[in-house]
């Protein structure tokens, strides 16, 4: 199917589905962070929302600017507006992203450095958690033992959600995705040492639990704050007169 065959609404949602909460490692569309999408002849306006008004502004900024950039990839979308609602820095973030000011330009004296390093930290953690999920599944399968795990290659992983999630995380941090690449490596491709495999996996498990737990917490808070069912679909209005 070509992009042109998809409705603009569907294209907008697929674009937004590529925007992840950096810490929770889940798309904003699944987390319920997309409040509304309005499409008209002029362009597209998306409203985002977060679980509390005290969500860290650096993460909020990343999601708003990522959403803006994802939508800008779409052909013939027109003017793009991405607005964060109900946040203590809504006005600042919305204005800065609309003006293309960048993080430093948006927060001025309040920002000390751009957010690349912060983003990388969470990409590394997301990778570690994805490795752990794959390894758990492999160990549960009973064919591999803990001692053998350092030899595990991408080739050995069953096709499916866990493997594709791991491949996506590997791409994000620049690790090879060839079938003979080792699975049990850190963010720069260093192998987990054999005597430390158990400890290494244990820390990876703590990372996974931490990420999953934060996601539970945020989903619950969002539902409490907006009194709507978790995962409720965003409001979509399309008044565009052309297709």
């Amino acid at each position: 199917m070509t992009a042109a065959a998809l409705s603009l609404e569907a294209q907008v949602f697929s674009a937004l589905a590529t925007v992840f909460d950096p810490e929770l490692d889940q798309p904003v569309t699944e987390l319920g962070f997309v409040r509304s999408v309005t499409i008209d002849d002029e362009g597209v306006e998306v409203h985002l929302r977060l679980p509390t008004s005290f969500c860290a502004p650096n993460f909020a900024y990343l999601m708003v600017s990522d959403a803006y950039e994802a939508l800008a990839e779409l052909p013939d979308v027109g003017r793009i507006r991405v607005l964060l609602d109900d946040h203590h820095d809504s006005a600042k973030i919305n204005g800065g992203v609309a003006a293309g000011a960048g993080y430093l330009g948006t927060f001025g004296v309040e920002a000390e450095q751009n957010l690349d390093e912060l983003r990388r930290t969470f990409q590394r953690k997301a990778h570690l958690a994805a490795v752990e999920r794959c390894c758990r599944a492999v160990l549960a399968g009973g064919v591999w033992t803990l001692e053998e795990l350092p030899m595990l290659e991408l080739f050995d992983l069953a096709e499916g959600r866990l493997k594709s999630a791991l491949l996506r995380r590997r791409e994000a941090i620049g690790l090879p995705t060839g079938s003979h690449a080792r699975v049990l490596v850190d963010h720069i491709g260093r192998p987990a040492g054999t005597p430390d495999t158990a400890l290494w996996l244990r820390l990876a498990a703590a990372t996974r639990i931490s990420i999953e737990g934060n996601a539970h917490f945020c989903r619950g808070l969002l539902a409490t704050r907006y009194a709507d069912p978790v995962g409720a679909a965003p409001v979509v209005v399309n008044t565009r007169s052309r297709s």
């Binding site: 860290a56 650096n58 927060f107 703590a206 990372t207 931490s210 737990g213 619950g220 409490t224």
Partner: protein, 335 residues
């Protein structure tokens, strides 16, 4: 004291507040946003029958405090953790005066931990010396992520912060509680980063660093650091109510903490009035790791006793009645 199935538990609630977040105390919209955020935590994680109305939640006063914590709450000793937020509230969020009045009225039952901000430099150091004497401080509660003026927070290993920690050593303030959890307006400084704890814990071995909210949302960073430092502890405030709302997640956190930190370094806290201690204590005593999480061993009664009170009693030199001590400790006391 709480008793269940013939076992008696000495309970220390390591994290309680008396706050005033009524509209009359809001300095700006952030004062309103802050208490609304707390109220959402309260509504999201409490059992339905434990949810308060909003007005009660914004201010409940000392009488209700005593009833909820000591009357209904099974608590033997409670520790106030100051949350001042002077940039959001006219007369601060935490009510120091009311807390200190209660400490005086109920000797032995309450401890008050005040706060300082190393960005107040020399002036703040002098204030700390006065506070330590007047309030008989054994501990402090610090918010490294708190915005103040143009500053977006501080680190415990900043030079000024180190001078304050040295003053704590000199003044006998040995318990340093640090908020590493839900944010208070941090920006590019990563307010959850627990790396600063690692540095100061190594440098100040005679101080105890209690990481509140066990570093959530960065549990793994906290565990990794705490496992290497002898004087780093984990406070369970904000983790406890998951026992009701997300029991499997609670089991995983407790399982990880017991693995990485061990049973002697985990402290109970309700974060009252975010949650009331009564149901948290009762549920924790009844709690067990689910059978389908075989990676975590069963939690023992002795471990629950330590977490609920004995560990904090040891940090704060509280006198635990002999019947409520663990057998080995009770024996040691008589020798």
């Amino acid at each position: 004291m709480y008793e269940k199935d013939g076992e008696q538990y000495y309970v220390v609630d390591g994290h309680v507040h008396i706050w005033d977040a009524r509209e009359s105390n809001h300095r700006n919209v952030h004062g309103k946003q802050f208490i609304d955020c707390f109220y959402d935590y309260h509504r999201n994680l409490s059992p339905d029958e434990m949810i308060w109305d909003y007005d009660t939640y914004t201010y409940y006063g000392p009488e209700r405090f005593m009833k909820d914590v000591f009357g209904d709450g099974h608590v033997d000793h409670a520790i106030f953790q100051a949350t001042l937020l002077r940039d959001f509230y006219h007369r601060c969020f935490g009510q120091t005066g009311e807390c200190l009045d209660l400490v005086r009225q109920h000797p032995g039952k309450l401890t008050y931990n005040h706060a300082y901000d190393p960005r107040d430099r020399e002036e703040g150091l002098e204030q700390l010396r006065r506070d330590a004497e007047q309030m008989q401080l054994k501990g402090v509660k610090l918010y490294t992520a708190e915005w103040h003026g143009d500053s977006r927070g501080y680190r415990l290993d900043d030079p000024w912060s180190r001078r304050y920690l040295e003053a704590c050593l000199e003044l006998g303030i040995k318990n340093i509680h640090v908020h590493k959890g839900p944010t208070i307006r941090p920006l590019d400084r990563d307010a959850f980063d627990v790396a600063d704890i690692d540095h100061v814990a190594t440098d100040y071995l005679d101080l105890n660093f209690i990481v509140e909210h066990v570093g959530l949302p960065r549990l793994e960073d906290f565990c990794w650091i705490a496992t290497q430092e002898s004087n780093v502890y984990g406070g369970l405030a904000v983790v406890m109510p998951f026992i009701h709302a997300r029991p499997r997640y609670f089991a995983q956190i407790i399982g990880e903490l017991l693995y990485w930190l061990g049973e002697d370094k985990i402290l109970f806290g309700s974060d009252y009035a975010l949650w009331t201690p009564q149901w948290l204590v009762e549920r924790f005593v009844d709690f067990q790791i689910p059978a389908d999480l075989p990676e975590y061993p069963e939690i023992t009664v002795a471990q629950k006793k330590k977490i609920l009170g004995l560990n904090a009693a040891s940090l704060y030199d509280l006198e635990v009645p002999r019947a409520l001590q663990l057998p080995a400790e009770a024996d040691a006391g008589t020798r």
